[in-house]
């Protein structure tokens, strides 16, 4: 029998977020500098499994990847059946901060992709003292929808499979077949209305526009990463954003789309290693 156990462990923590009781599932691996890793819209912490399984990086870093409420193995809050899920910037930031407090993390590095990259920039603006640095992946100040987000939740269409087919446009053709489809599988598993509610935050909250110059990278560095095949947050969007943040750095990743750590972990790896080294000292990205 050839059984291979991974070093990843999973736990649950119940905590109050904005006055609402939430049961959060998280996975972690490694020892050292804490790095909290947040997933994209409509997915869960399995997007980060290759980083959590990385022998080299886990020698020096403790990676902690939660499922946001409503995602993966974190349940939606009590009463969800009558609510319309619409993620907001405030709830999202409260979730990150409450989670870090619950785990008693001292100035962790924040790494987030897509909507996780957007919240990285919001945290860099509003709570730079709470983090050692921000790795904002597929991140920009604002992306209005170029599609109807209500497509993702309607009674006459299969939200998960349809959503996966739509977001596959954001996966680079170079990405290996297995991980291309695993990335879509995570999307197919998102609960009804979750992608729509995530995209409500991502495509309608423009509160970062005009605020990027106020981000102080001397307090905590900001490093933006973007895949060249990302249609949602294009390299031009990421460049516009990075150029508006004094001291921010930018890495455009060839042959990668919107889900770097999930769709092509091998190609993403050296870029993420480089990003982590930039988090070593405040302002080091300048």
């Amino acid at each position: 029998m050839n059984a291979v156990f991974e070093p990843i462990t999973g736990r649950y923590v119940t905590l109050d977020i904005s006055g609402v009781t939430q049961r959060i599932y998280f996975e972690e691996a490694g020892q050292g500098t804490p790095v909290v890793c947040f997933h994209t819209a409509g997915s869960d912490n399995r997007q980060w499994r290759f980083i959590l399984n990385d022998d080299e990086l886990t020698r020096t870093h403790r990676f902690i990847a939660p499922d946001m409420p409503w995602h993966g193995k974190s349940l939606p809050p009590a009463g969800w059946q009558t609510q319309q899920y619409d993620l907001t910037t405030k709830t999202y930031m409260d979730t990150v901060l409450a989670f870090c407090d619950a785990l008693e993390l001292d100035r962790p590095i924040f790494a987030g992709c897509s909507m996780g990259g957007r919240i990285a920039l919001q945290l860099a603006l509003h709570h730079p003292d709470r983090f050692a640095g921000f790795i904002a992946i597929e991140a920009s100040d604002f992306q209005p929808a170029w599609y109807d987000i209500d497509w993702f939740h309607r009674p006459d269409a299969p939200g998960g499979e349809m959503g996966a087919a739509l977001i596959s446009a954001n996966i680079a053709p170079q990405s290996p077949e297995v991980e291309r489809w695993n990335t879509q599988w995570l999307f197919m598993q998102s609960g009804p209305g979750v992608v729509r509610g995530d995209l409500s935050f991502y495509t309608r909250d423009d509160s970062l526009v005009g605020q990027l110059h106020r981000i102080d990278t001397a307090k905590a560095p900001v490093h933006i990463m973007v895949g060249e095949y990302d249609l949602t947050c294009t390299p031009e969007d990421a460049r516009r954003t990075a150029e508006a943040i004094p001291g921010a750095t930018l890495d455009v990743m060839p042959g990668i789309g919107h889900f770097p750590m999930s769709e092509n972990p091998e190609r993403f790896h050296p870029h993420f290693v480089s990003a982590l080294t930039r988090m070593a000292e405040p302002g080091s990205g300048q």
């Binding site: 170029w146 269409a157 299969p158 739509l166 596959s168 680079a172």
Partner: protein, 130 residues
Amino acid sequence: MADTSDLIVRFERMRTNLNRTPHLRRLGALFSETVLIQIDDEEFYLFFDKGQLARIEPGPSRKTPWRFALRTDADALARFWEPMPAPGFHDIFGLIKIGRGRIDGDILCLVKNLRFFKEFMDFGRGELTV
């Protein structure tokens, strides 16, 4: 300008590949629609029946109803069908995002059958050997 005979050959190859692909026959089991592919001024009507491409008819035709249409230009489609397409040319929605394609008609029908249709369109990738 699109080369009509080359495009017919390519669509025929796509039909052959579709016939050889059991998972798409399963995914397309409920897909019986006519799709218009317009390349510059060239029109092609693809008649799908339960996930099989029953026939291909060149246009133009004002009398043929279609469910949805994908409109693009010959250069964009050639780049879409390259083995390793450049960013923006790698997906039909990429063509739309970069302003080289348009979808008209019943878009909901398209997105409900999106995986089927995208994998069908991907069969056009690669060199054309007649």
